[in-house]
């Protein structure tokens, strides 16, 4: 079963995402900041990660870099309020598979995640 790690410092956002993906039948892990995320990755490498950028201690970029270096197979989705074109280019430039901005459509997000994971299984 695909494992999804959701990282965000807003508890309510975390709550909604957790609810959404659990309902879709994924194994869901949550982290309140980058540090927690790295700790979870250490024990349990996810198939896909949904990553906020602006977080205390360790930010989303660092988590992304860590994954690209140690676990390049992990699918990465940035989900952030930083909506400028410049930010988007930076995120995708770092190797993320998707760059989505807040506020997001739940349906679309779920569809995108499914598609990413499907490609994975097809290959």
């Amino acid at each position: 079963m695909d494992k999804i790690l959701i990282v965000d410092d807003e508890p309510n956002i975390l709550l909604s995402l957790e609810f959404l993906f659990k309902k879709e039948g994924y194994r869901v892990f949550i982290a309140r900041d980058g540090e927690e995320a790295l700790a979870i990755i250490e024990e349990n490498v996810p198939t896909l990660i949904i990553l906020d950028i602006m977080m205390p201690k360790v930010d989303g970029y660092e988590v992304c870099n860590f994954l690209k270096e140690h676990h390049p197979e992990v699918k990465i989705i940035f989900l952030t309020a930083k909506g400028k074109q410049k930010d988007k280019e930076k995120g995708l430039g770092m190797g993320a598979d998707l760059y989505l901005t807040k506020p997001f459509s739940t349906k679309e997000l779920v569809a995108q995640v499914k598609q990413l994971l499907q490609v994975e299984t097809n290959n």
């Binding site: 410092d9 807003e10 309510n12 956002i13 709550l15 909604s16 995402l17 609810f19 959404l20 309902k23 900041d33 602006m54 977080m55 205390p56 201690k57 930010d59 309020a81 930083k82 909506g83 807040k102 506020p103 997001f104 459509s105 739940t106 349906k107």
Partner: protein
């Protein structure tokens, strides 16, 4: 004693040393090191004032007339502070007008009048040549004293066996070599000046050596000399007595003052050779100091000589040298002899340079230029003619002085000849001083004044010497000419109580001044004269715009003017000068066929430096078709230049203001741009902060829409939506709030409220939070009743903000303490949380500080609370800051108390919510 040949060897050796110093200095100057250009050399060179007369004659005068010798040094010392007013002005004028001598200065002031220049030059020659011959005499005498001590022949019988003759030739050679190197008469003679400075040091050293020897080796210090003198009955010499003494002292001091300023050699070194006006600062005290030092031992030596040579017929003028010889101090005698030699030579060299310049520029040139035939004849050889006329006159002047010494019978002491020369020079004072301070001083007045003064000088001071020489009957002195007793040269109109020098000065200077003033008032200046008068008197006003402030009207063909300059300067130098001129005027080089007035004036100024003002005037006039201009025009144009200058000043200050304004605009622009940046950043932060609640709201709304959820779940999610909505409302409110404060549109709703009640109400409303978090909450109120004019809701908002922040961070307790003094209400909110890191303190009141600060865990809140609190407190005229007190984090704000009269009473109220 030493042999004659050895003494001659020393003398010429010393002369060789002078050559070496001059040569080395000139060499360095060529390489760009101007050794002589400092105030010390300048001040020392001025000590050329102390000639052989000072060196030998002061002692002689002290021995016969007592303290009166001091007048010669009191005058210059008294006037030294005035140098700043008089000398500086003369220097500035001379620099800007290219003045080359005192005759040039006077002629230049009175309309560049050639006649006046020639008169002054002639009078200088007549007045100074005897003075130079006095120096030759001093050299010869001192040589003879050493010579006599050898017990051989007393005086050289023929000129060609006379050492003084060869020394004079040597000096002439030195002067020609180093004094006429450049054609420009106002050029600096670095080598000569350095030599003179050296000689001044040397003569001071030698004289002090003589003084110390006499005072401490022959006698036992000053006291023992005076004791010996008292016994011999010479006290009268060092006391002031006599009915007319005050009068004499006054006139003699005036005399030396004028001599110090206007003697050709002083003018040469003080003005022409001056390289920097600021050197006057130091010279003003160094020169009087020099005079003091060289005079310390005059009286002791005189008194020592009198007592030592009692009964002998030793001339008092020779005491300085005679005393060491009498004591068999051969080497000391040689040093003293050379000291006297140095005093004489420096005077001869400088005086000769000054006089030769006057001869060439004020006598030879104008005479040549008067006749056009002569002018044509020498057309292309003018510059070499000029140089040779200077060289020949140097030789001629020195030989004349030598002849004067040989021929004229010398009954007179050194001092009397010197003073007679002083009186001659003093005749220039009215024309010069009047010329630089009084615009009305006119040419006719100057010519008449100087001439009258000279005639009187000749009659009262020179005529008697001729009589004494046996050329005229004695009766002129004893009974007056033709037996008219009130015309007696020594006692005009029966004034016979004065000594003859004061008498002569009085009867020459007073008529001189009267003639100068009266004729200046009665005659009208012509335009050229008036122009120069204005420029001289107001020199500091015209300094910058000189070429255009000298009024001139006419036309000059540029090639003619160029040819004229080339005559004196050569082709290359002329091109250089003209290029420099065009460059400084910002005009194309050699673009015009006709020279404009500024160029004509410039050329005339350059020529003035070479051939003197009057001659330059004549030369320029020969190539220029000049139109006579009226006085009104002169005044008009001069006024224009002054207006132009003030306009220029105004423009300068305007452009300064403009630059200032530009700078201000730039910085304002900068501020605006930063402001813009801040605003952009603020907006992007606000939108970012808003996206967070909206994201939650949207996500949960969609979840609620799509799914059939259990009732409990539904309720929970709806709760979250409501919570996030109010978070957004709060954020929007605060942003609007802050924006109003920032733009200054926020208005406070001021009311007189009881501060105590306000604080307690605020505390009550948040009390529940403390209870929930199980925190101890303490309130300390330091007063009972305090009414302040504040916006109640806003102050409550601040207190609530601080308390809720404290509640977020506190571990166990929060304390609110309010106190007052006569000026301020002060409120502290403290918590025992982990505190704010030092480096964050400066930013803690910034908007969205927390949002931007990614390193700390984000607490709940908009991030605008503290920024708004700060604004509110500032709006109330107070301050808010963060402190650390006893391990507690403390937010502290103050509000000024307007005019309250309540007595603070201690009242502690404690509410424990824990």
């Amino acid at each position: 004693m030493l042999s004659d040949s050895l003494i001659i060897l020393f003398t010429f050796g010393y002369l060789a040393l002078l050559f070496a110093i001059a040569w080395y200095t000139e060499r360095s100057a060529e390489k760009g090191r101007r050794l002589g250009q400092n105030p010390y050399v300048y001040a020392l060179s001025l000590a050329v004032y102390c000639t052989a007369w000072t060196y030998y004659g002061s002692v002689g005068q002290a021995a016969t007339h007592g303290l009166q010798f001091l007048t010669t040094y009191i005058g210059p010392t008294l006037i030294a502070p005035l140098w700043w007013v008089v000398m500086r002005k003369i220097i500035r004028i001379s620099k800007l007008q290219g003045i080359s001598s005192i005759a040039d200065f006077i002629s230049s002031r009175y309309g560049k009048n050639a006649t006046l220049g020639a008169i002054v030059a002639v009078f200088c020659l007549v007045g100074i040549i005897p003075y130079i011959s006095l120096q030759v005499k001093a050299i010869a005498n001192s040589f003879n004293i050493l010579h006599i001590s050898n017990q051989t022949e007393v005086m050289a019988s023929t000129v060609f066996r006379d050492t003084a003759f060869y020394l004079s030739l040597g000096l002439a050679f030195f002067t020609i070599l180093f004094g006429t190197r450049s054609i420009e008469a106002n050029a600096r003679h670095d080598g000569v000046v350095m030599t003179v400075a050296f000689e001044s040091l040397f003569k001071l050293f030698a004289f002090l050596a003589a003084g110390v020897f006499v005072t401490y080796f022959i006698f036992d210090g000053f006291a023992s000399i005076f004791d010996a003198v008292s016994e011999a009955g010479y006290e009268a010499l060092f006391t002031l007595r006599g009915e007319n003494r005050n009068f004499e002292w006054f006139w003699l001091s005036i005399l030396s003052m004028l001599a110090m300023l206007f003697l050709p050699r002083q003018f040469q070194l003080g003005v022409i050779e001056n390289t920097d006006e600021r050197h006057l600062d130091k010279a003003m005290w160094l020169f009087p100091l020099y005079l003091l030092l060289i005079n310390i031992f005059v009286l002791p030596i005189a008194l020592a000589g009198l007592t030592y040579f009692q009964g002998d017929t030793v001339n008092a003028d020779t005491f300085v040298l005679a005393l060491p010889i009498a004591k068999d101090q051969a080497w000391l005698a040689v040093v003293i002899y050379l000291g006297g030699f140095s005093a004489a030579t420096s005077m001869i060299i400088i005086s000769t340079i000054a006089l030769s310049t006057m001869v060439s520029n004020n006598l030879v040139m104008p005479l040549l230029l008067v006749s056009s035939r002569m002018q044509n004849k020498y057309q292309n050889r003018l510059s070499s003619l000029l140089l040779w006329s200077r060289r020949i006159s140097i030789l001629a002047i020195i030989l004349l002085a030598y002849m004067y010494y040989r021929v004229v019978v010398w009954d007179f002491s050194l001092v009397s000849i010197g003073l007679v020369s002083f009186v001659a020079i003093a005749q220039f004072a009215p024309a010069i001083l009047g010329g630089i301070f009084w615009k009305g001083g006119a040419r006719i007045g100057a010519i008449t004044g100087i001439s009258v003064g000279f005639v009187m000088w000749f009659y009262t001071l020179v005529l008697p010497t001729i009589v004494h020489g046996g050329f005229l009957p004695e009766g002129i002195l004893t009974d007056g000419p033709w037996g008219i007793s009130f015309l007696k040269p020594y006692a005009l109109f029966g004034f016979q109580d004065l000594d003859y020098v004061s008498h002569g000065l009085f009867f020459s200077l007073v008529p001189n001044i009267l003639a100068y003033i009266l004729l200046s008032i009665w005659t009208k200046q012509n335009s050229k004269e008036h122009n120069q008068a204005l420029v001289f008197v107001d020199i500091f006003k015209y300094s910058e715009t000189l070429d255009s402030s000298i009024v001139w009207k006419g036309k000059a063909y540029l090639p003619d003017l160029k040819a004229l300059l080339e005559n004196f300067l050569g082709v290359a130098e002329t091109k250089k000068l003209l290029d420099r001129f065009f460059l400084s005027m910002g005009k194309p080089i050699h673009g015009d066929l006709y020279a404009d007035p500024a160029l004509v004036n410039y050329s005339e100024r350059v020529l003035s430096g070479i051939i003197g003002a009057a001659s330059a005037r004549i030369m320029v006039a020969s190539v220029v078709k000049e139109e006579e201009i009226s006085l009104e025009e002169v005044l008009g144009i001069l006024k224009e230049t002054q207006e132009l200058k003030s306009l220029n000043d105004e423009l300068k200050s305007k452009s300064k203001q403009l630059r200032q304004a530009t700078r201000e605009l730039q910085s304002m622009n900068e501020a605006l741009r930063t402001n813009d940046l801040l605003k952009d950043e603020f907006i992007s932060t606000v939108t970012h902060e808003m996206k967070t609640p909206i994201t939650s709201i949207r996500a949960f709304s969609e979840i609620l829409l799509d799914d059939d959820l259990p009732e409990e779940e539904k309720k929970r999610f709806l709760g979250i939506i409501i919570q996030e909505t109010s978070r957004m409302t709060r954020l929007i409110d605060q942003v609007l709030d802050l924006e109003r404060f920032d733009s200054g549109r926020q208005e406070l709703n001021l009311e007189k409220v009881s501060v105590g009640i306000l604080i307690l109400e605020a505390c009550d409303s948040i009390g529940q939070v403390f209870k929930e978090r199980k925190l101890i909450f303490k309130i300390n109120l330091d007063f009972e009743e305090l009414f302040l004019l504040v916006d109640e809701d806003r102050i409550k908002q601040v207190i609530l903000n601080l308390l809720s922040n404290a509640a977020k961070f506190a571990k166990t307790k929060v304390v609110l303490a309010a106190a007052r003094d006569s000026h301020y209400l002060s409120v502290r909110v403290m918590d025992d949380g982990k505190g704010i890191p030092e480096e964050e303190i400066p930013y803690i009141f910034d908007k969205f500080f927390q949002a931007k600060n990614q390193t700390s865990k984000k607490p709940i809140g908009s991030g605008l609370g503290l920024a708004i609190s700060k604004k509110i407190i500032e709006y109330h005229g107070g301050e808010i800051e963060i402190q650390r007190i006893d391990g507690l984090t403390c937010f502290h704000f103050t509000i000024p108390i307007q005019s309250e009269t309540q007595n603070p009473k201690l009242n502690e109220k404690q509410t424990n919510y824990g």
